[in-house]
Symmetry: C2
Subunit: 316 residues, 2 copies
């Protein structure tokens, strides 16, 4: 681990104070020496009040340009669809030598939207912590959100190497593992590991909701058979996800094409009673699950039986 | 609650001793007075040995016809694809007055496969506890699996009302809520709440695995963005799920058709940048999630950030 001195920032500005912004604040506070001051910006008065009240920020401003003045680290934590407007507003107020980064779930569109407004002397290093819950708002954050998760950084060509290294150390201090890649590769990897799963989850929940003869109450009542787990993913913030799909269109449409092709293959195996093919495909899926547990990205504890009344079974 | 005396069975025979069979045994033992003797049957010697060793059954037999002799409650807990063969074998050995039930995830096919072998005087009452985990085998069961979950019974026309009531009380004693419906309605409800979600999960995991340029290790590494939750569902037993899809073909294909239609609608909204439609659909999905939490079928604790090292955040 790197000592606090090497990554200490004078003033961190969080533009947007939802799940990720508030979790960054908690993780900075937990660490102790990462930032002298944290300021924030939100267009919503109640969010600003709450953020100050629970100590997420030392000061909150409606105008993001005021929040970034004098900051040496600026983190965009707003929905990606708002970035262009924010960048246009804060561009002239950014301090020379500052690092500008973000936490958005898409990266090529962020480079296109924000890049033109970044003044010379500011290091623009887009980022994406692969962490979250299905909850949102300034009270949903917690300090351990990034622990053991991956944060992807996609440095622009003009970002200085020492600024990139400083941001890498910052995310490590928040608890993350860090990986560097291009914005385009990020968007492809995330299209399959995150964007497509969310789209599918939203879709199946809506398909269920629109069934006429299966009432909502039956869908809900018997949801423990698998449907429940999709609704958890589908409970994620609608604004954020609208922006993700509009801003990673090409990669998402490509993955959707592959998904549909594979689904038709499965559908055909069911129609023609090809049990061998089904067994083979289901077995392969199980192997991938083992890989994820081995990689420490999930726990092997059985989880389908969860309920407020039910204790987790003991695991050997 | 009903007292133990009313539902006490002399001899319960579990045909198949995997996750559900072993959990039924644990739940019977937890209750104390539900059965005098539990016997089991499995074609696998190591499963029989393990079941006796850890006290799941008082005796285990390779031949299911031997296991059911003298039993007043026989529960088929094997993969649905094996039911016809088992029914043919045990039919002549079933005792008059016995209740024959099962725990399979499809019901119309079970009635068709098993019904012809059920002798007069035996009450055949197919059942399906909506509970499970992604794990399998005799050591995966636990007593609380059915607590607060639903068990659906689909009594055949010839089953006596008092036998149905006795089985209802048995499942309640194991911790379940119980609902009665026709086999056909069950298959439709489960097609959307369980079978389709599993098929989709298997499919997306395989789509990810087959991508050439996104390596397996990247898919696994960055799986916390949503993909991980699909792999959990896709880790379920391949044999069981093959049999489910082959035995609930009509309902699954119908739901698949609706799902694909809805997915194309979403895909079109992405292609034509219809953010309003996306926002609307995602918001509706979020409402269904709220209903599931209100109905006690899941917990509102955020779960995406889970990891062996990460503590659950405190919830207000």
């Amino acid at each position: 681990m790197t000592g606090a001195a090497e990554v200490r920032f004078r003033r961190v500005a969080l533009i947007g104070i939802g799940l990720i912004g508030s979790s960054i604040s908690h993780a900075i506070r937990r660490h102790g020496g990462l930032a002298e001051t944290i300021v924030g910006s939100s267009p919503t008065a109640s969010t600003r009040d709450k953020a100050v009240e629970i100590g997420l920020v030392d000061a909150a401003f409606a105008d993001p340009a005021v929040a970034v003045a004098g900051a040496d680290l600026v983190i965009l934590c707003a929905p990606v669809g708002a970035y262009a407007r924010i960048a246009k507003s804060i561009g002239p107020a950014l301090s020379p030598g500052a690092i500008l980064t973000d936490v958005g779930s898409v990266k090529a569109a962020v480079v296109a939207d924000v890049g033109p407004y970044v003044p010379a002397g500011v290091d623009f290093i887009p980022g994406h912590p692969i962490a979250g819950t299905e909850q949102s708002g300034p009270e949903s954050g917690f300090a351990s959100l990034f622990d053991g998760r991956w944060c992807i950084l996609t440095p622009t060509a003009t970002a200085r190497a020492e600024a990139v290294e400083r941001l890498v150390q910052f995310w490590k201090a928040l608890g993350s593992n860090v990986e560097l890649m291009t914005a385009e590769h990020h968007d492809r990897v995330l299209a399959i590991t995150s964007h497509l799963p969310h789209l599918i989850a939203f879709n199946i929940v809506n398909t269920a909701a629109h069934l006429e003869r299966v009432t909502d109450s039956e869908v809900i009542k018997f949801s423990a058979g698998g449907f429940r787990d999709f609704t958890r993913i589908a409970a994620s913030d609608p604004t954020m996800w609208r922006d993700v799909f509009l801003n990673n269109k090409a990669a998402v449409l490509e993955m959707l094409g592959r998904f549909t092709e594979d689904l038709f293959h499965l559908q055909r195996a069911i129609r023609y009673d090809d049990g061998e093919e089904l067994f083979q495909l289901f077995g392969e899926a199980r192997e991938i699950r083992r890989g994820i547990i081995m990689a420490g990205q999930d726990t092997p504890a059985p989880d389908f039986g969860r309920s407020p009344q039910t204790k987790k079974p003991p695991q050997g």
